[in-house]
């Protein structure tokens, strides 16, 4: 049996980062091949290389597809060869109908005029194939995420797919929708469509996959056949790396509880009936760095943002106490008043006014602190900005520099300065080192340690488990909107964190089948 796809020695370098290093992947015709790995291991990058998002020549190594070398210049090229990728974020146009979406860019047309009769007929056939009973004229926005996912697959089938790549297809789905999707995958397999699935959920993988390839730090670790699959081995392969001394020394000295969250429930702002956070409870002590681990979509950011002035979600219930007293965090201003600060994971979109200078960004959350009766004292404002520039070692010619011109690490320091100027008791840092180079990461870690030493409480959300293990005194593990475990620094290890998540997924699947 010759392979349908063979990727040999694939490497991909971004400025300053090597994302892929010598990855090999062989996919046999008609199989479902699963790819596992931690966040940032390089799975998505690999699939972008395969589908032509990164054109031929921008990566190292070679790809043999269907017996011939594959050199895609763009996605159109790979689609012409029957390689279709369905991304985690669905790429449908909500206000267009199912039929219009299915043939978007691939219209059933002659000389630019669409043949709607034929398009509707083909739509009907495709919908039947994916087991969806909807009129071709239904607008996509009327469908749930699960059905939208099926539309994406139908769209792929419309393009005569031979190799279908699904990037975390069930991440946003509820249990029964996930089951339907997995059934459809098996059906497509029976029809001869080769598939690659990227997933964290081992129960799903073991259900549909014929073989598994584990990727870690941009390299292939192992490929195993169905009968070799065991959770222990996958976890070991996924995380098994030594932790270097990448974290500054610190002697933890936790005091009394600063913030306590109890029975926190949040519902999705748009999708009715979808609960995003389910009864979460956690606490932070004085001088403590607490981590929240979890995979993408586990609800960590949603938890943080809903706590911070209800900036996310609806119908929020639960209690927050600060320093033993009930705290009102129902608006951002009140949350700040109560001593809470939140450093967002997306500093450019949510954290900074990019076209304004450093000084204006630093004081933005506490303008009353540099004004009297509503009139700004610009001298004091500049002094404040200068103070933080020195304390944080923000590398810039001056505080009048626009933040858009700063590097990622320095931008992050500006955001941290902004929140420190509100003098918070508890800081929630959401992916504080994302997109920051290694040296700046160390600086951010040092700043975090200093803040803890000052007696502030720090909640650190991160997708990089080594970072959590290196920095935190305690780690909460989140999955599917729930806190599924709490580990002390001594107990915590990547294996244990993954085990908690996987165990929880297994229970969920069990419940799903029982129901």
């Amino acid at each position: 049996m010759t392979a349908l796809l063979e990727m040999r020695g694939i490497g991909k370098v971004f400025p300053g980062v090597r994302a892929l290093d010598n990855v090999s992947l062989t996919v046999a015709p008609g199989e479902i091949h699963a790819i596992c790995g931690e966040n940032g291991a390089g799975k998505s990058t690999l699939m972008k290389v395969l589908s032509g998002v990164y054109p031929h020549g921008s990566y190292e190594g070679e790809i043999i597809y269907d017996g011939a070398p594959l050199a895609c210049r763009n996605i159109r090229d790979s689609e012409a060869r029957g390689i279709i990728i369905i991304h985690q974020e669905l790429a449908l146009v909500p206000l267009l109908s199912i039929a219009e979406n299915l043939f978007l860019g691939n219209e059933v047309a002659q000389r630019g005029v669409i043949n709607w009769a034929l398009a509707f007929q083909k739509t009907g056939e495709l919908l039947k194939k994916v087991g969806l009973d909807e009129a071709p004229t239904t607008k996509v926005e009327k469908l749930g995420v699960g059905k939208q996912q099926l539309i994406e697959i139908a769209k792929a089938l419309a393009k005569d797919v031979r190799l279908l790549i699904l990037d975390e297809p069930t991440a946003a789905l509820q249990e029964n929708d996930s089951q339907k999707l997995l059934d459809l995958m098996l059906e497509l397999k029976a029809q001869g469509v080769t598939q690659i699935i990227i997933s964290h959920k081992l129960n799903e993988i073991s259900r549909v996959a014929d073989r598994i390839t584990v990727i870690r730090d941009g390299s292939t670790v192992s490929t195993m056949d169905k009968h070799e699959i065991s959770e222990d081995r996958i976890i070991r392969d996924m995380v098994g790396r030594d932790m270097a001394h990448r974290y500054p020394e610190r002697v933890p000295n936790p005091g009394e509880v600063l913030m306590e969250v109890k029975d926190w429930n949040v519902w999705h702002p748009e999708q009715l009936g979808r609960q995003v956070i389910k009864g979460a409870a956690f606490n932070v002590r004085k001088g403590e760095i607490v981590g929240i681990a979890g995979l993408m979509g586990s609800g960590r950011t949603e938890l943080a943002m809903s706590l911070f002035g209800r900036s996310y979600g609806r119908d929020i219930t639960g209690q927050v106490t600060m320093g033993g007293k009930p705290a009102d965090t129902s608006t951002v201003a009140k949350a700040v008043e109560a001593g809470l600060a939140y450093v967002t994971e997306d500093r450019k979109v949510l954290g900074l006014v990019l076209e304004e200078p450093i000084v204006r960004n630093v004081t933005l959350a506490n303008l009353p602190g540099v004004s009297r009766r509503g009139v700004l004292d610009k001298r004091r404002e500049t002094e404040v900005a200068e103070r933080y520039r020195k304390a944080m070692a923000i590398r810039t010619p001056g505080v009048q520099q626009k933040v858009v011109n700063l590097s990622g690490g320095n931008q992050q320091k500006v955001v941290l300065s902004k929140w420190l100027f509100t003098d918070p008791q508890v800081l929630i840092l959401d992916e504080p080192t994302r997109g920051i180079d290694v040296g700046a990461k160390f600086e951010i870690y040092s700043i975090m340690n200093d803040l803890a030493a000052q007696g502030r409480g720090i909640v650190m959300i991160s997708s990089e488990m080594p970072e959590l293990l290196g920095m935190c005194d305690r780690i909460y593990v989140m999955n599917e909107g729930r806190i599924v475990g709490e580990l002390s620094a001594e107990e915590a290890s990547q294996e244990r964190i993954m085990a908690l998540i996987i165990k929880d997924n297994g229970q969920m699947a069990g419940e799903g089948e029982a129901a």
Binding site: F308, G309, S311, T331, V332, A333, A335, V336, Y342, T344, V349, L350, G351, L352, V353, L354, E355, E356, R360, L364, A365, L367, P368, S371, G374, V375, L376, K378, R379, T382, E386, G398, V399, Q400, K418
Partner: protein, 393 residues
């Protein structure tokens, strides 16, 4: 060498601000020359023309001040022309039909303007209906309301008190007569204030470690402004003195410049326009600020409406047509960004003056309104292209 590099870098960084001023001066010079070349030479910069530029364009400057805030906040207000017409009609009705004195009519009309702004701002701010649509609706509604209120007829004329709002001049308390003593004193104070504030800002820049403007450039600019102010002041004084409208404009300009640059609320409006999500996550109540911008716009539209009504000495159903376009054009010529978050009051005033000087100059030259519209449209386009080009460079 260092000095030269400093000058070049500074001009590059402040091209827009200085460029605006240079453009205004260039346009004034251009018209002066063109009018001297006429078969019957006319002096462009005579007192009457200078007075008229402010009398005839005061409403545009006032509207542009409010429009800047709306645009900085990331919105637009298309209704200001209709609102000005409507509030003008309200003021006329209160004055002529009800017979109220001007000191009651003026505040009452401002309140009506504020309420109209609130009614529109409510939908924009709290319901997040696009401002383009809300104010387009307002444009139609208040044009219709004006016609309904006036019943297809004009209301006027007005008693002296109300007319003085637009046609009056400050009294000469010194009793010199001609030249107008108080005007000279006010102008002298204004020049002194301008220099003092400039020097203070410069000292502060140095203290904050901001590379100061090269001193040659600083003095050159300030002396040109001082000379221009002195010239205008002398001309006005030798005519009828300082018009009331100009006093109102000067006070409002200073007030709004201070508000935008030195107050917490002003700063927050810029942050909101620059990145609404970040502003919101910094504890700023962005919806309330947007609401306030529209209320403010309504009040200023009412003021502009009254000034225009007083000038024409009658409220007419067609008043205020196209005011919104003049105001928006002034804001963009003045260097505000289309996406919100930037723009300066001084720039906007200069932008409005450029429009006003062009209107007057072209009218005296006898250029038809067809060509005038085309030329103004192209000036707007060129100014914005200049901005975008500078930004991309």
């Amino acid at each position: 060498m260092a000095e030269q590099k400093g000058l070049g870098a500074h001009l590059g960084g402040h091209l827009r601000e200085n460029g605006m001023l240079v453009a205004l001066v260039a346009i004034v010079v251009l018209f002066s020359v063109l009018l001297q070349l006429q078969p019957q030479p006319v002096s462009f910069l005579k007192a009457q023309n200078i007075t008229n530029i402010f009398l005839q364009n005061g409403h545009v400057i006032i509207l542009a001040l409010g429009m800047l805030l709306v645009i900085v906040a990331g919105h637009i207000d298309l209704s200001v022309g209709s609102v000005a017409a409507f509030t003008g009609a309200v003021a006329a009705w209160l004055t002529v039909n009800v017979g109220l004195p001007f000191y009651i009519v003026i505040p009452l009309t401002l309140v009506v303007g504020g309420l109209i702004g609130a009614a529109q701002g409510y939908w924009v701010a709290f319901w997040r209906i696009p401002s383009f649509i809300v104010t387009l609706a307002g444009m139609m509604v208040f044009r219709g309301a004006t016609m309904w209120m006036l019943g297809g007829q004009n209301i006027g004329p007005f008693p002296k008190g109300f007319q003085a709002l637009s046609n009056g001049f400050i009294p000469d308390l010194t009793g010199i007569g001609r030249p107008h003593g108080l005007t000279l004193i006010v102008i002298a104070i204004a020049i002194g204030l301008q220099l003092w504030l400039g020097l203070r800002a410069r000292a502060r820049d140095a203290e904050f470690g901001i590379t100061p403007e090269p001193s040659g450039l600083f003095w050159a600019r300030n002396l040109i402004i001082a000379a221009a102010t002195a010239f205008v002041g002398w001309q006005l004084a030798s005519f009828r003195g300082l018009p009331n409208v100009m006093v109102v404009l000067a006070v409002l300009t200073a007030l709004y410049a201070f508000f935008t640059e030195n107050t917490v609320t002003g700063r927050r409006i810029y942050a909101l326009g620059g990145n609404e999500k970040a502003a919101k996550l910094s504890g700023i109540r962005t919806d309330r600020l947007v609401f306030l911008c529209f209320v403010n716009m309504g009040v200023l539209a009412a003021l502009a409406g009254m000034i225009v009504t007083a000038r024409l000495n009658s409220a007419t159903p067609k008043a205020g047509t196209g005011f919104e376009l003049d105001a928006i054009a002034s804001v963009f010529i003045g260097g505000a960004s289309m996406t919100g978050g930037s723009g300066k009051i001084v720039g906007v005033v200069i932008g409005a003056l450029i429009m006003g000087v062009m209107n007057m100059g072209m009218s005296i030259l006898g250029i038809g309104s067809d060509y005038q519209m085309m030329i103004k449209g192209l000036v707007l386009l060129v100014a914005v292209i200049f901005d975008v080009y500078n930004k991309n460079k």
